[in-house]
Amino acid sequence: MPINEEGAAFKPLIVAFCCNWCSYAGADLAGSSRLNYPVNVKVIRVPCSCRVNPLFILRAFQRGADGVIMCGCHPGDCHYTSGNYFARRRMALLFSMLDYLGIERGRTRVEWVSAAEGAKFANTMNQFAETISALGECRRLEDIRCVESEI
């Protein structure tokens, strides 16, 4: 297991964008089912996966995230009927591009999590954290100037 500067086990920082209607509810269900997943997974609520701008993902990497995951309703179940279909295309292309630029593909992920899939949410986060732990810290897109600055 990679060790960070202080000698503690490396705990990857993961930003999870979750749509309000399915995945965020799925994350809530993981909570009410008391299912454990790593503490460094932080969820950002968006109305729909189609609200996730590639800028947000780049921003997370820029600010030191080690992995970014986008969760939305299963295809066909979007609250807004088609949002996740657009998001699926955008993320397929963006993540392929990040891989092409040398950001390991294990660091980005798209997962469809329904409001009933608390267990899937927790499992996904556990697996994702494991994958990223193996990859280590992500410095490739990080902006060292940004550590304490504000817009």
């Binding site: 930003v15 609520r45 189609c50």
Partner: protein
């Protein structure tokens, strides 16, 4: 600068056991804008809420962050609390430190750390919040139903009975739709006309219902609660106000060579006609294509014989503009064209007919007065073969991939009716599967097999060929695993059904989305099955997907109840978390319009002031009454002109920054 209060909930021990709530409250004080923080056992209780209200008043807070359970649980509660204290309800953010923190982490130190970060993210977002005010719009208390079949009639009756005005626009000269063409209805075998025509009369007699037959929707503008629709009333050539419906014109008309649409072309009708005896309105229409007067200028018999002076050759199409609060699409279906099914010889042999043609042949008011006779020689058939799934569940190009749903049942009905009327007739049914999921449906099918002795053969028909006046049907029997050849006198094809072709242009006009088969899509396939994704547009009947009469009527009623729910409101309060365009940044490129599932985006020429330059530009405009706030447009916009209120780019990025700090 905001003045933010942070309220940390213990949720009894639910949060407090794994999160040091005091530490979270303390830590948040060092976040920008935070002027007050506290913690309380149950924030959602009256005690907690009054603590919030007091703090808002005492510290002049401009926004609050509540660190508690999921926003899906109590966001609405705390928004109300804020509103009571005079704060804009959208100046509230929730940090979910229960479901997404205390309940999933066991280590108190780690849990506290995470809770502090979640609170920090909520504060960071709140610092970029602005008060949002939901827009209000009037509701015009009248509904438009497009399509006058059983679906449209039922929806109109239900809405009208609730006391609202309803207009029905029907493109053919009469209401009644496809159901009026049917003979008997499964599974009870009551006569379609007996149950439909009273409803048609009810609709025409209802004081709240106006019928626009022989009319089509020309254009539409507006949005939920406020649609303006132009209806083209096609010229009948007959003044409806004067016509008494005596029928003399029809009788005397010398041009009697037009194919009767109502009878599926199995017999002829005159140029001036009513589709069928119980048509509503009982006012004839002049079919200008076959009218001698219109074609050659010489004739005018109908005008001469009409004592009511109702014939008006000079009548022109009329455009009527009406306003509606809600619109119901009930455009129905038609059987597919069998042009590409040469293997069944439909176009070549008159005795190969569709099921709908068979309905007319069975019907006492039909071309054969209810006697089942072969179209070719008017002899009763001795052997009839029914072929199911013609174009349904197809894997070939020309067919439909879906199940048409009604064919299994009506074929059983036809087979049964035949055997009942003509016990000597041998009846065969070729099927892939027999699907009977409905109340009393399977019992009905079993009666056809067991009591009526209909021969069901599992397999498809490969070929129909005409030989010496008989039809040689070659098919496979999958159960006996052999080829079968049946010499038949008549073959009835259960043609797949598809949405009426007018649905597509209406779909475009109303931005009601459609699936690949041109069926209208629902706002949600399970939870909002009678609403279109476009607000204020509802779906009734077969235009949404194949269904039988009971399902159609049920759905028509459901659509009506949605319409009533809308029309019962005086004002619509919108969701203020909608997209908004920053005009100086907008390129007018139309990309956002393409991804909007609701048709909420239009383009207008606006005077834009950009860096002191004043110019007229094509810019995107969001109709807040239609926008549902998904945000698809915001990401597709390359210039960042489009943003989503309540979830702006800056708000979300502030959250990202706060989490990653």
């Amino acid at each position: 600068m905001q003045k933010i209060g942070v309220f940390v909930c213990w949720c009894g021990s639910n949060i407090a056991a794994t999160v040091d709530v005091e530490a979270v409250a303390q830590a948040s004080l060092s976040e920008p804008g935070v002027v007050f923080s506290t913690n309380y056992q149950y924030m959602c209780s009256e005690g907690g809420q009054s603590a919030i209200r007091n703090a808002i008043a005492e510290h002049g807070l401009t926004g609050i962050v509540v660190c508690a359970c999921s926003p899906r649980m109590h966001e609405a509660t705390f928004r109300k609390t804020a509103a009571v204290a005079g704060l804009n309800p959208y100046m509230v953010e929730i940090a979910n430190i229960r479901e997404q923190c205390s309940w999933i982490h066991r280590d108190k130190e780690e849990g506290t750390k995470k809770a502090i970060i979640l609170a920090r993210a909520a504060v960071a977002k709140l610092n970029r919040n602005v008060p949002l005010i939901a827009g209000e719009s009037q509701v015009i208390k009248r509904a438009l139903v497009i399509g006058g079949g059983i679906a449209g009639i039922q929806t109109a009756l239900d809405v009208a009975d609730a006391g609202y005005e309803v207009d029905i626009v029907e493109k053919t000269p009469t209401i009644g739709g496809k159901m009026a063409m049917l003979d008997k209805t499964f599974p009870t075998l009551d006569c379609a006309a007996c149950i439909l025509t009273p409803k048609m009369v009810d609709a025409s007699a209802h004081e709240k219902i106006s019928l626009f037959t022989y009319s089509e929707v020309e254009s539409v503008s507006g949005f939920v609660g406020n649609f303006t629709v132009n209806i083209r009333k096609k010229a009948r050539g007959v003044n409806s106000d004067l016509c008494t419906g005596c029928g003399v014109c029809i009788e005397k008309c010398p041009s009697k060579k037009a194919k009767s649409e109502f009878n599926q072309g199995l017999c002829n009708r005159s140029a001036i006609y009513i589709p069928f005896a119980q048509a509503i309105p009982n006012v004839p229409v002049i079919d200008r294509e076959s009218c001698i007067k219109f074609q050659t200028g010489k004739c005018g018999v109908c005008e001469k014989v009409c004592t009511a002076k109702a014939i008006d050759y000079a009548q022109e199409d009329e455009i009527i503009t009406r306003q509606y609060g809600a619109i119901v699409l009930a455009t129905g279906f038609k059987p597919i064209s069998l042009e590409s099914y040469d293997e069944f010889q439909y176009n070549q042999c008159p005795d190969v007919i569709t099921s709908l043609e068979f309905e007319r042949i069975c019907n006492a008011a039909g071309p054969t007065k209810g006697k089942v006779l072969r179209p070719s020689d008017h002899e009763p058939p001795k052997t009839v073969v029914f072929v199911q799934c013609v174009g349904s569940r197809a894997t070939v190009e020309c067919g439909k991939t879906y199940c048409s749903k009604i064919c299994c049942m009506y074929t059983a009905k036809h087979a049964m009716l035949l055997r009942e009327k003509y016990p000597d007739t041998e009846v065969y049914v070729f099927y892939i599967d027999v699907r009977t999921p409905g109340k009393s449906f399977d019992e009905f099918y079993r009666r056809a097999v067991e009591e009526y002795g209909v021969h069901y053969i599992k397999g498809m028909v490969g070929k129909v060929a005409e030989e010496d006046g008989r039809l040689i049907v070659q098919g496979s029997d999958l159960i006996a695993d052999k080829q079968v050849i049946i010499e038949a006198d008549m073959v009835v094809l259960a043609a797949a059904i598809e949405p009426d072709p007018t649905a597509r242009s209406l779909g475009t006009m109303f931005t009601a989305s459609m699936d690949t088969n041109d069926f209208f899509t629902e706002a949600h396939p399970k939870l909002r099955p009678v609403e279109s994704p476009t607000a204020g547009i509802y779906l009734s009947g077969l235009c949404q997907g194949p269904k039988d009469i009971p399902d159609t009527v049920a759905q028509a009623g459901a659509a009506a109840s949605k319409v009533i729910g809308l029309l019962s409101k005086d004002k619509l309060v919108g969701n203020p978390c909608v997209a908004a365009c920053n005009e100086p940044l907008c390129n007018g490129c139309s990309t956002c319009e393409l991804v909007c599932p609701y048709g909420a985006i239009t383009y207008e020429e606006h005077l834009v002031v950009d860096h002191g330059v004043r110019e007229t530009r094509r810019v995107s405009c969001v109709n807040e009454a239609i926008c549902q706030g998904c945000g698809a447009c915001t990401v597709t916009c390359p210039s960042g002109a489009m943003d989503l209120k309540g979830f702006t780019n800056l708000q979300i990025m502030a959250e990202v920054d706060a989490i990653c700090r």
